[in-house]
């Protein structure tokens, strides 16, 4: 694995898989050069400069829609699109889409758990006071 500026950028966003992440972490600890590069990326971000990768990841620019993921699950899309979504999930490893897909697959909603459901209802009730006042 070549550690480039773009790799460090993906590392900052916690986008790398576990194995690569550990590799990068170790490399950054051992190399002053990489450590400095990492810090310079962080500093640029603090100034509002973001790389293409950071923007792409943050805005989920290539993520399929929820509706598409639902059709993907049913294999009701054109084969090329199915192949791409599989790539996006498995090779790119998009964690947001994985979470979305497992939410679609999981028929047993976590809210069927009485404790979780009570907490959920309580949250809805309590958070209402933070809603802007009706106009």
């Amino acid at each position: 694995m070549t550690i480039t500026k773009a790799t460090l950028d993906a590392f900052i966003d916690d986008h790398l898989n576990e194995q690569d992440s550990i590799r990068v972490e170790k490399a950054v600890r051992e190399s002053q050069e990489l450590n400095t590069l990492l810090k310079s990326i962080i500093a640029s971000r603090d100034m509002g400069d973001h790389s293409i990768g950071a923007i792409w990841r943050r805005e989920h620019l290539s993520c399929p829609t929820r509706e598409e993921l639902s059709s993907y699950k049913e294999e009701a899309l054109d084969p090329q699109r199915i192949d791409y979504i599989k790539f996006h999930l498995e090779t790119v490893g998009c964690k947001a889409c994985k979470a979305n897909l497992s939410d679609l697959i999981c028929t047993k909603n976590s809210l069927t758990n009485p404790d979780a459901n009570e907490k959920h209802q309580q949250f809805l009730e309590n958070s209402k006071i933070l809603l802007p006042k009706k106009v």
Partner: protein, 215 residues
């Protein structure tokens, strides 16, 4: 992309509509909880983090940028909360995490815990415009490739930009020639540069656009 439906939901919440708020929470709670559970095993902690993310969203509802998707925004807030929690457990990769005089870890050296539209563009209005232009260009590029079903090119540039791989690594994964990946990267860079120029912005504000491969 932001749907009309989402915009309507935000507008209703901004007017204090309780049903719209419940609808939003129900709509996004499952996927956010799954996302958190991918990183934190304790279900109760996950639920807390998700709820805090919703509260963060609500607290900033009047500043919500309508061009952003609610999902991306919520995932952004949540992932920073997760990072903070893991760091407090000492479990997250911390690269020289600063320590204060009492030996407590200071907050993340590289992730803003309250990342949102406002802090992301902490610089100035000019930077926000530049970043918005880049987002627009990338959207156009991705849409074009999807419309043309040019998925190979999309896969190449996604591996390079999003996963930070070198041309060679991307080529190996895709089972194609290194030069083909380089041409895909070149295509993407030119597309984005042309787009920035059309918007009267100088591509020099994004130095990474001129960076070729680092193999």
């Amino acid at each position: 992309m932001v749907s009309l439906d989402e915009n309507m939901l935000v507008k209703k919440i901004q007017k204090g509509d309780q049903l719209a708020w419940s609808d939003l929470v129900l709509r996004y709670e499952g996927r956010l909880t799954n996302y958190a559970q991918g990183k934190i095993k304790d279900h109760a902690s996950c639920q807390d983090l998700v709820q805090e993310s919703f509260l963060g969203f609500l607290a900033n509802i009047n500043n919500f940028d309508a061009s952003r998707s609610i999902q991306s925004y919520l995932f952004g807030i949540l992932s920073n909360k997760i990072t903070d929690l893991l760091r407090s457990y000492g479990r997250l990769r911390t690269v020289e995490t600063p320590v204060d005089s009492s030996g407590n870890q200071k907050s993340s050296p590289y992730i803003d815990p309250a990342m949102g539209a406002s802090t992301w563009y902490r610089g100035d209005e000019k930077k926000k415009l530049e970043n918005d232009a880049l987002i627009k260009g990338l959207r156009l590029l991705i849409n074009q490739l999807v419309q043309r079903k040019d998925y190979l090119k999309l896969k190449s540039i996604e591996l390079i930009f999003v996963n930070g791989l070198s041309n060679l690594e991307a080529a190996n994964i895709l089972g194609i020639d290194n030069k083909t990946v380089a041409s895909h990267r070149h295509y993407a860079n030119n597309f984005i540069i042309d787009n920035l120029k059309k918007m009267n912005l100088s591509p020099s504000v994004f130095p990474h656009l001129s960076e070729q491969d680092q193999d």
